[in-house]
Structures are given as C-alpha cells and as structure tokens.
C-alpha cells in the first residue's frame, strides 16, 4: 500500500514569505506527527494529531508555525513570515494511533529560506 507522502519535495522561498507543507498519511492511520531536522542536528518534534485534534503542540518553535488536519487525513503545516533559521527538512509520520504503534515517515520536504 501507499506510504506517507509529502509535498512539495523541495521548497525555496524568500525570507518573510509564508509557506505551506502538506502531508498525506497512510490510509487508516489516526495519528499524525510533524518533525523537522535542521542541518547537522537531530530530529525534533513539532506537533502531534490524534484524529483532527492536536493534543501536543509543544514542539512548535514560535507562533509563526501552525498546523491543521482535516478529515482525519491530510495535514498542512504553515510557516508564516519565514526566517532563515526555518530552513530544514520537515518530516511527517503517521501511525495507527494506539500505544506502541510504529510511526512511519514520509520522504520529507526540504525547505530553504533565502
């Protein structure tokens, strides 16, 4: 079956512009997670959805970052007024949503803010 898909695969934007990143989880997966990996750093958690609700937004670095999920499916991560430090690979993962369920990752969106 299809895995997690993300679009775009690459995005170059100018500082101050807004960007939207999309994630399509594995069909039937109720949990969806966003992470990012900045150059030379580890993977850091951003936000977690269970269904369309976000019980954990603790990783969002600032109020410029927001995310939503609709239809217990697609999720969009929006970064407003992008800054150079937002440059990173943004990764989405999904799981069946229960405890001890494996998270499966998409290929990521590489964001470069000039």
């Amino acid at each position: 079956g299809a895995g997690v898909s993300q679009s775009p695969s690459n995005k170059v934007t100018e500082k101050g512009k807004d960007v939207e990143l999309r994630c399509d989880p594995i069909s039937g997966h109720t949990a969806l997670y966003w992470y990012r990996q900045r150059l030379g750093q580890g993977l850091e958690f951003l936000i977690y959805f269970q269904g369309n609700s976000a019980p954990d937004k603790s990783g969002l670095p600032s109020d410029r970052f927001s995310a939503e999920r609709t239809g217990e499916s697609v999720s969009t991560l929006t970064i407003q007024r992008t800054q150079q430090e937002d440059s990173a690979v943004y990764l989405c993962a999904s799981s069946l949503g229960g405890a001890q369920e494996t998270q499966y990752f998409g290929p990521g969106t590489r964001l470069l803010v000039l």
């Binding site: 958690f45 405890a99 990752f105 990521g108």
Partner: protein
C-alpha cells in the same frame, strides 16, 4: 536535557562482521523503543522495535536488546552488508506520544 543519547557519532565495521549500535535513555516512562535507518535526502525508515516488557526482539539480521535497569538498548546487525551504511537513529516513545530521538550514529560498512 537530552532524554535519548547515542554517544557514538560514527562507527566503521568490516563487511560480514557484527555492527553494534548503542543508545541510552533517561526517562523511565518510555515504553516503546525503535530504530530507524536514514539515507541522505530520504525520510527515516523503520527497522525494528521493542516493547519495554521485552528484553530482545529479532528480525532477520537485526536484533534489538533492551536493558531496562541500565536504561540502555542496542542494535546488532549481523552479518553487516555494504547496504547497511547509513545513519541510524534510536527513538523512544511513551504511549502514542511523540518520538524522542537520539542524535544518530553514522555506520560505514567497509568491503
């Protein structure tokens, strides 16, 4: 406060030998542990996992060992193959919550 640590940034192993990657954690509430493999410009690929109620899980060439008292887990790959060369991330989870990742270990398999 890094809750999951991989203290070896890199590891080099001869093809056919055993590769052992190590991971330590501090939060005793973690109940599920996973290893992911990552190639450049790709997302992490799930390799193997272990529940906190077990001390060993095996899948083909990959075995994960968990020592709860030491808060330590390890991934054994045997025999190591050139295609195993990648960055390996250890991750820990509590319930259905976020994964907490180590910094990764770059494994190089030499022919």
């Amino acid at each position: 406060d890094q809750q999951v640590k991989q203290n070896s940034p890199s590891l080099s192993v001869q093809e056919g030998r055993i590769s052992i990657l190590n991971c330590d954690y501090t939060n005793s509430m973690f109940d599920y542990f996973l290893w992911y493999k990552k190639y450049p410009a790709e997302g992490p690929t799930f390799l193997i996992s272990i529940s906190s109620i077990k001390d060993k899980n095996e899948d083909g060439r990959f075995t994960v060992f968990l020592n709860k008292s030491a808060k330590h887990l390890s991934l054994h790959i045997v025999p190591s193959q050139p295609g195993d060369s990648a960055v390996y991330f250890c991750a820990a989870q509590k319930g259905a919550q976020k994964l907490v990742f180590g910094q990764g270990t770059r494994l190089t398999i030499n022919p």
